[in-house]
């Protein structure tokens, strides 16, 4: 009988804490519907990898649950960042770039809203993290899970799991994090600014050429972002070409869902108690929040700055959508606009800024890899 319960004595209190964290993630996913597609697999995976089962490094076994999850991590993330890149094909197929193509200057907000990434890099450096970890933590501000995973893994960060959890948690918390910052940075008068819809239409040729041109530009200027932007734009090309509707549909739904299942589960392989329960994890969560806040601030401030020089005033709230968390951030801004004035429809503009943020965050990730990668090698 004692043999049946022998494994019970291998249980450590840290593992129980991780079960509670896993349970919390599952609760947030189901009850609060916060990024359930990722938080639920991550939560369950966190419980799974913290069962008192000897790790494959100790036993040398090539089977068993830990070995399988480790294998998924190795092939899906560690070796060539396969899962985040394939997921980007699905994301690219979901994005309609028309709002930004009709009004290209919206891209400026997407660029400005990446300020949080670089600010957090400096802040993390100030708190004693070495450059590669500081850069990996900073990329939480990209508000884009695959980019965070890609950059943290490429830089071989010691805190990959905490970074991934922070990135996805804050993306889910955008509707809670952003509104107070937006209200704090804008006046009521600014929030009431109405923006005209351009009403312009974009030709099919432009829509098809856009992903190709962006890939070439980014590939030339920020070569480290080529993989991310290439996969994103490939997905978008499938969507816009008009002759691959079936593939586009598969990429948006089946492919994205499949990868998401494995991605969440695989990330959890790094949520082992001994690596996760550290003081640094709390610090990383705080720094991630700072990144989101400063991103929002950066987007709003550039809109205010532009208002000083432009005749057609811009509602500064749309700058906040440059944070990239697509499409939550655009929805938040749209809802806030309607709350102030029920005839103020900001959706087209905020979506335009939001998709520009998606592109800008990938470029920021590439630039981080280029700038930091050269220094840490």
């Amino acid at each position: 009988m004692s043999a049946v319960f022998a494994n019970l004595f291998n249980l450590e209190w840290q593992q129980v804490v991780m079960w509670i964290i896993g349970g919390l993630l599952i609760y947030l996913a189901i009850k609060k519907e916060m990024e359930p597609t990722l938080l639920l697999p991550m939560g369950f995976g966190a419980i799974l990898v913290n069962l008192p089962i000897p790790s494959p490094e100790v036993t040398g076994e090539v089977s068993g649950v830990r070995a399988v999850i480790d294998f998924l991590f190795e092939i899906g993330i560690d070796s060539h960042e396969l899962f985040p890149l394939i997921l980007f094909i699905g994301i690219g197929a979901m994005i309609d770039f028309e709002p930004v193509l009709t009004n290209p200057k919206l891209m400026i907000f997407g660029a400005a809203a990446q300020f949080g990434i670089f600010f957090t890099l400096c802040l993390a450096s100030l708190f004693g993290f070495d450059l590669k970890d500081a850069a990996s933590i900073a990329i939480i501000g990209a508000a884009d899970g695959p980019t965070s995973i890609f950059v943290a893994n490429m830089l071989d960060s010691n805190y990959t799991a905490a970074i991934m959890v922070a990135a996805y948690s804050y993306m889910a918390l955008v509707p809670i994090v952003q509104p107070p910052i937006i209200k704090l940075c804008t006046t009521k008068k600014e929030r009431l600014i109405r923006m005209k819809n351009t009403g312009k239409k974009v030709s099919k040729t432009t829509k098809i050429l856009f992903p190709i041109v962006v890939t070439i530009i980014v590939g030339l200027v920020a070569p480290d972002a080529t993989a991310l932007i290439g996969f994103l734009m490939f997905g978008n090309l499938i969507r816009e070409c008009g002759v691959l509707n079936s593939l586009s549909d598969t990429a948006q739904n089946v492919l994205a869902n499949l990868i998401t299942i494995f991605l969440g589960f695989t990330i959890a392989s790094k949520m082992v108690a001994e690596d996760f329960l550290r003081f640094e994890t709390i610090l990383i969560m705080c720094l991630g929040l700072v990144a989101f806040v400063v991103d929002t601030f950066g987007g709003i401030m550039i809109a205010k700055l532009m208002n000083l020089f432009t005749k057609n005033k811009i509602n500064p709230m749309i700058g906040a959508a440059g944070i990239s968390a697509f499409p939550m951030s655009a929805r938040v801004v749209h809802k806030m606009g309607l709350a102030e004035d029920n005839q103020n429809f900001l959706l087209m503009h905020s979506v335009g800024v939001n998709v520009s943020g998606q592109v800008a965050s990938v470029i920021a990730g590439g630039l981080i890899l280029t700038l930091v990668g050269a220094l840490v090698k």
């Binding site: 004595f9 450590e12 209190w13 840290q14 930004v100 193509l101 009709t102 290209p104 200057k105 891209m107 400026i108 997407g110 660029a111 990446q114 300020f115 990434i117 670089f118 600010f119 890099l121 400096c122 802040l123 450096s125 100030l126 708190f127 004693g128 070495d130 450059l131 500081a134 850069a135 312009k200 974009v202 030709s203 040729t205 432009t206 050429l209 856009f210 041109v213 962006v214 530009i217 980014v218 200027v221 920020a222 001994e274 329960l277 550290r278 003081f279 640094e280 610090l283 520009s356 592109v359 800008a360 470029i363 920021a364 630039l367 981080i368 700038l371 930091v372 220094l375």
Partner: protein, 72 residues
């Protein structure tokens, strides 16, 4: 009793492990990272600027009036 001692040892070990990260203000590292912030932000604006120019160009090409087919 033995298990309680074992648990206490585990807690001490975990605490020591957590203490390995020294929370310290490192202004030198902060100053070293500032050029990365400057270059990074400049880089994003440059790349996005180029993309804006290209999109504007594509839009103007797409906006060229096509020769209308006259059905007679």
């Amino acid at each position: 009793m033995e298990q309680t001692t074992q648990l206490a040892e585990q807690i001490i070990e975990a605490t020591e492990q957590a203490m390995q990260y020294e929370f310290a203000f490192t202004p030198d590292r902060f100053i070293d990272s500032l050029p990365i912030m400057g270059t990074g932000m400049l880089g994003i604006f440059v790349v996005m600027g180029i993309i804006i120019l290209c999109v504007t160009g594509l839009n103007s090409l797409g906006a060229r009036p096509k020769k209308e087919k006259k059905d007679k």
